[in-house]
């Protein structure tokens, strides 16, 4: 087991769904050699079936006693991930006529298929963006599922990695991951996943997805670093929550749940009830949602009245560099 855990906090109130994180990751790690269909990081619109399609119904994770793995199924390329289609750029950009940009093969699904769809009826429709990546879980189901000990969790930072020399593509890990964040590369015959940009982390550089985030929505620090954003948001302020904690894997990517504006009643008057139903957020982020949203609202109110709010200053992230504390123990700047 790891002695330290590097954690990421994603503020869903700041994510604008621009997919800069997705592209930062893709261009760095997954743009070739059988990885074209896979997105180690992606942003999906919620509510929705997500990517891969219906991942929340695809099983995996631990039984509630935490001792036995739940069965899971393997997503399919065309129906669940979506084929990595080519587009008719040549016809659209360089030929006569007004040909619209279209995939050259029929697509059934994709990593951003339901963008901005959401749920609810006008004028009370709602959606929010949920960036997703490997959670580098404290109790990884993938690691337990592998009969070959090909998956390990690093002691120094808790990063979960698949040893590409040991992996033989059996895909028990793909089924076991309740987030479906492990992908089988059919060309390589091995399973692959987000590596939390460990070669960057080892040099003190934040993950590409976090560093490139234009919304300053992603904080990265070690969970035991009390000056770091992860410790402060997760343990001190309790506004950052794990995704689907009921699977028992103890994920280490945390989310600040989204606030939403009031719904309107039939007469067009605000009801004071948030558009995103609390129940839905609880189904995603667990019982801590109510407390987290209350704290956020209280601190926003303080800031609005001109008072100081340490929490708001932390989430606003006035200085980009303050969002990341990657120094190893002993070399941490205070």
């Amino acid at each position: 087991m790891s002695t330290r855990q590097l954690a990421m906090v994603i503020d869903l109130n700041k994510c604008i769904g621009c997919q800069t994180c997705t592209l930062a990751c893709k261009s760095q790690w997954t743009d070739r050699d059988g990885r074209e269909f896979m997105y180690w990081n992606h942003v999906e619109s919620k509510p929705g079936k997500g990517y891969p399609r219906d991942w929340e119904q695809a099983g995996g994770g631990w039984e509630s006693n935490g001792e036995k793995l739940k069965p899971g199924r393997l997503p399919r390329l065309e129906e669940d991930y979506g084929i990595p289609a080519d587009f008719n750029y040549d016809a659209t950009l360089f030929q006569e006529g007004m040909q619209p940009l279209r995939p050259t093969e029929a697509m059934q699904w994709g990593p951003n298929w339901e963008e901005d769809q959401g749920a609810g009826e006008f004028p009370n429709g709602y959606f929010f963006y949920l960036p997703r990546l490997c959670n580098h879980c404290t109790k990884p189901a993938c690691l337990a599922a592998c009969p070959r000990q090909a998956i390990s969790k690093r002691a120094e930072d808790g990063i979960v990695l698949i040893d590409q020399e040991r992996c033989r593509g059996y895909r028990y890990c793909v089924a076991a991951c309740p987030y479906k964040k492990i992908y089988f590369n059919p060309l390589a015959g091995r399973s692959e996943k987000c590596i939390f940009c460990y070669p960057r982390v080892e040099k003190g550089i934040p993950q590409a997805c976090a560093y490139q985030c234009v919304g300053r929505a992603r904080h990265v620090s070690y969970l035991d670093d009390q000056a770091g954003a992860a410790y402060r948001l997760v343990h001190e302020w309790k506004v950052a929550l794990p995704l689907h904690p009921e699977h028992g894997t103890q994920p280490n990517v945390y989310y600040v749940p989204p606030l939403s504006t009031s719904t309107f009643d039939a007469a067009g008057k605000p009801t004071g009830k948030p558009r995103i139903p609390d129940d839905y957020l609880v189904s995603l982020f667990g019982p801590g949602v109510g407390g987290a949203l209350e704290t956020l609202q209280r601190e926003i109110a303080k800031k609005e009245q001109g008072a100081a709010s340490e929490l708001m200053d932390l989430l606003i992230a006035y200085r980009h560099g303050d969002m990341f504390r990657l120094g190893r123990l002993g070399e941490q700047k205070s």
């Binding site: 036995k68 393997l74 390329l77 991930y81 009969p147 028990y172 992908y183 089988f184 060309l187 015959g189």
Partner: protein
């Protein structure tokens, strides 16, 4: 998990899932390696027609890990062997209504394998070897239609050999797979099965078949529960 703990866990599973006495009683097939001029992994080589066939019974392997669950499909295997001055050829034939040879995210490819105790002695455990007694495995997979030369020293230890000098080729027709393997008698790989240059006596070997349509992969497979015996023709 250390190798010792893994081995103990595997033995525990073995004891729990199989009556050990039944293992010893299962008769081993004798496969005659007939002489022929063959020097390739060719499942359609005319020399196979005259080679004596042995039928080998397959059973679901006992699971070496909690992830491995299910009953394997294949129940019997027809084995033929040929030896030439160049080396040893073995052909496996079994029923499988559909060929699973696609490389896709959610499906598994059919496969077959031949296992040898590295030292040629039948007191090596036929369940992936162990305790320093290595096995050499020739593995064929329908998605790649080539052989992998592998070795193992117990559950979860399977690894590729540095030397890939085993050939395999298969094709599916009339609801059957026919897969031929070939290796020269001499291999430069120190962990490879020692095949005698002047073959006398017998050589223990074991077999496995995977049905991809049944999600079989890894230890989820149909296997011979005991070493079988390859007899070198004079």
């Amino acid at each position: 998990m250390s190798a010792t703990i893994r081995a103990r866990a595997a033995l525990g599973l073995l004891a729990a899932t199989l009556p050990l006495a039944a293992l010893a009683q299962e008769p081993a097939a004798t496969i005659q390696a007939a002489r022929a001029a063959i020097a390739a992994a060719d499942p359609d080589h005319p020399a196979w027609n005259a080679a004596p066939a042995s039928v080998v019974k397959l059973e679901t392997a006992f699971p070496g890990h909690p992830s491995i669950v299910g009953t394997a499909v294949a129940q019997r295997l027809v084995v033929k062997a040929l030896r030439s001055a160049a080396g040893l050829a073995i052909r496996l034939e079994w029923s499988d209504p559909a060929a699973d040879s696609q490389k896709t995210q959610h499906r598994f490819a059919d496969g077959a394998a031949i296992q040898f105790p590295r030292d040629g002695k039948s007191d090596t455990t036929p369940y992936m070897g162990g305790g320093g007694r290595h096995v050499n495995i020739w593995y064929w997979n329908a998605a790649r239609n080539t052989a992998e030369n592998l070795w193992a020293d117990g559950f979860g230890t399977l690894a590729r050999m540095p030397t890939q000098d085993v050939k395999a080729s298969g094709h599916h027709a009339d609801g059957k797979w026919r897969v031929a393997f070939f290796r020269a008698f001499r291999s430069s790989e120190p962990r490879a099965a020692k095949l005698p240059a002047t073959p006398v006596g017998t050589q223990p070997l074991a077999f496995a078949v995977w049905d991809g349509a049944n999600n079989e992969r890894d230890g989820f497979k149909a296997v011979t529960m005991n070493w079988q015996s390859l007899q070198w023709a004079r």
